[in-house]
């Protein structure tokens, strides 16, 4: 794995650690937004044609 890839992975780890430490109510709010987005993507024309 090259240095550039290591830096990307490390940055992702840091972001996940930040999310992990958020207050519970904030995490639940994120969960709700993630679900809304996933549903919106699933309802998109591209997602429908791939099914």
């Amino acid at each position: 794995m090259n240095q550039w890839m290591r830096a990307i992975l490390e940055s992702k780890r840091r972001e996940r650690a930040r999310l992990r430490l958020l207050p519970l109510d904030e995490k639940i709010a994120i969960l709700e937004r993630m679900r809304d987005r996933a549903l919106a993507i699933a309802g998109s024309s591209l997602a429908k044609t791939r099914r």
Partner: protein, 173 residues
Amino acid sequence: MRETLEAIQQMRADGVIAACAIGGAVGATFYIEPMTTMDIDIFVSFQNIPNKLLIDLSPLYGWARSHGFEARGEYIILGGWPVQFLPVSDALDEEALAQAVETEVEGITVRVMTAEHLVAIALRVGRAKDHARILHFIEAGALDAAILDDILARHGLTGKWTAFGRRFLEERP
């Protein structure tokens, strides 16, 4: 999610379900970063409801209908979230439910399975997304290894855990 949790509280108050606890991906959110999920898993016990010899979920659906909530397949839509009520099915589920911890979400008291029980159940279920969630728990350092080992040993999951480790942990970067 507030409306969802309030509805579940009301179900308990009305005696439709006995003890219950949040599991699955929403349960995991209490310990690790949020991960996308479409539904909420609620593990329920009907043990304290008198005259229950067989598990019958029809009172749940009846309650939902009478309170204006939609039932969709195996889900009941509460506050916009599809909620799946999973009757405890074995000793691991029973223990996870009994040892669930109380906490507050949006001002509502809820019970959530411990991190170690969530991981043990995910290991037992064993889908790709369950394995991914277990890896997140490990990376987060959210597990007490001694407690997890004890649970896995008592519920016959040590072999699965060893196989999981061999497959996913031995060659991690």
